[in-house]
């Protein structure tokens, strides 16, 4: 009993651990430094009309994430260098969307203006609200080009490069993309491929269920056999006149036999009653007066 409890607790812990390790967090851990522009000569301008360096943060999750309360820094020894304002509507990044911070060392210009600038060779980082957990970081390459942004080839991917177009607040990959359906139409115009793959998957899913229940029923049958044989042995020991075949007989009880037994019992119990009188009498029911239904009680009394 104790072991059973221990095993179930261990199983539950393992399940939770594996879920937390493999599952997608859908939280601040999904934020990524996605694109930067170090030398902004004639590119994107801020609200003050200035060309300043910027950092684009991408929310790779499929729900909105609030970046408020997290920290941006260009100094790993000082993770809390720039605390991002909390409780602001603009810090909530919608799913698969972006937020651009201006690295202009002008924090008085607004909550999206950082207190540091971008320089080649420096490491910029995003830290969680506890100021210790590193969410993402990037060491800016030394030979970074002017007016060309450096970013992930695809949003959230691991491959970084100089991007052919600067894309603040939009997808880094500007190549025209075909939808999954269009790809299918291109490579499988007749739908035969889809039919084969999909039928294969449907069959494998249901075949898995089939094998599982085939095995389960065997295991359960084994248990029944054990139980019945154990019962017959105990009865034999008790001196009852049981034959060795009683276990086998028990196993052969089918649903039909059970139904027949149930029907017999039902018929037997029905016969215990006297024959019912089948004469139907219809009595007229007259509605008698009741003060509860009298209208007079629903009326207001006249004032005296």
């Amino acid at each position: 009993m104790r072991y059973k409890k221990l095993i179930s607790i261990a199983g539950a812990v393992l399940l939770v651990l594996s879920a937390s390790l493999t599952g997608l967090a859908q939280s601040s851990a999904d934020l990524r430094i996605n694109e930067i522009l170090v030398y902004n000569d004639s590119n994107y301008v801020d609200d003050f009309g200035k060309h300043s360096p910027w950092i684009e943060i991408f929310n790779s999750a499929y729900n909105s994430v609030d970046i408020g309360g997290l920290y941006l820094t260009d100094d790993l020894s000082n993770p809390t260098k720039y605390p991002i304002a909390k409780g602001q509507s603009m810090t909530r990044i919608p799913k698969r969307s972006y937020l651009v911070f201006w690295a202009d060392n002008q924090p008085t210009h607004g909550i999206l203006h950082l207190n540091f600038t971008l320089e080649p060779g420096k490491t910029i980082a995003l830290f969680d609200a506890n100021g210790r957990t590193l969410i993402d970081s990037l060491t800016i390459p030394l030979n970074i080009a002017r007016d060309v942004s450096y970013g992930r080839m695809d949003d959230g991917s691991e491959v970084w490069a100089n991007l052919s177009k600067t894309t603040p607040n939009s997808d880094n990959n500007t190549e025209p993309k075909a939808s999954s359906g269009d790809m299918f139409a291109q490579y499988d115009p007749t739908g035969i491929g889809m039919a084969m793959i999909a039928m294969g998957v449907v069959f494998s899913g249901l075949a898995a269920l089939f094998f599982f229940f085939k095995m389960t029923s065997r295991v359960l049958k084994l248990d029944v056999k054990k139980q019945l044989s154990a019962r017959s042995v105990s009865k034999a020991r008790a001196g009852k006149a049981e034959t060795a075949d009683s276990g086998k007989e028990g196993l052969e009880i089918t649903g039909e036999i059970n139904a027949a037994i149930a029907m017999t019992l039902h018929l037997y119990s029905s016969e215990l009653h006297d024959a019912e009188n089948t004469v139907l009498t219809i009595n007229k029911v007259s509605r008698t007066y009741s003060p509860w239904s009298s209208k007079i009680y629903g009326l207001r009394k006249l004032p005296k």
Partner: protein
Amino acid sequence: MEHSGSFFGFVLEHLEKFLSFTAFANLTAGHLIMIVIGLIFIYLAIAKEYEPMLLVPIGFGILVGNIAFSPGYQIGVYESGSVLNYLYFGVLQGVYPPLIFLGIGAMTDFSALISNPKLILIGAAAQLGIFGAYAIALALGFSPAESGAIAIIGGADGPTAIFLSSKLAPDLMGAIAISAYSYMALVPVIQPPIMRLLTNKKERLIRMKPPRAVSKTEKIVFPISGLLLTTFLVPSGLPLLGMLFFGNLLKESTVTKRLADTAKGPLIDIVTILIGLTVGASTQATTFLTPKSVGIFILGALSFIIATTGGVLFVKFFNLFLKEGNKINPLIGNSGVSAVPDSARVSQVVGLEYDKTNYLLMHAMGPNVAGVIGSAVAAGILLSFLA
């Protein structure tokens, strides 16, 4: 008195304006056609008892959706902010189908399937209708996403069809839903000729072993293992399969009777009313009566025919590998089409035509409920491939 002339002018002007708002002024031939279709649905439901739970709300919804109102007054189902639009939200966002699946799970007894697991495979074979219709829809010029949404009609599962079309082709959802429910109601008409055509007399007389008794443990294990085995393979089917198996666990655990009663009673009734009425109302003539809708109806019929054929032929093929005495009556092959319990009932009726003592209903319920799982899995595959 000096203003009396302008007053009457004012009244006349507003009377004229009022008349321009009435349905008589806005009526088109399309609205009339749709109203007639709605009336036919209501007639079939009440007089012929074809799927009345679905066809009465849908038929009445068609009437509601085709009262020709003047647009811009937040009345119609497609007008943002209208009451009908709010109710339609549950269809558009795929909220209602999983709730219906919860109720289906809570009212379905999977014993037939558990006692004879090989019947599960028939439920898989009948999904051929979906992918056959997909190929034909592509050939007719529908886009892949539209083809996927139309093809799911072959799964014979209204909520699944609505769920998938809301994701893949929301514009076609009305036509797809109406088509799916219409053909589900017509299962007793469509399936028997195909079943007779594909089987011989000897096959129709096959007697199957009575199903064994299923223990409570097996019934409890089924929804849990079913969920894990199917959704690990097709996670995109989670909203439907998750709710289906959850509902079944509520039923089989026997410790959550109140929850199971709610799921299979008031909850599914409320959602059925809402889904039926709003899907019906979504068939406004202006958006519904298009050549695409006609194509969808033809494809729907074809998908049902292919699905039934797939199920029956698969049983015949499967029988080649089964020993004498263990063979399956191919008349239950049609019930892999997941119109529960209509297609199983068709198996029973056709079976009794050839042998008055051969009751196939219990056996047919196995592939029937497997078809529900199979069509939800197929919807998940289409969603993950085409979305």
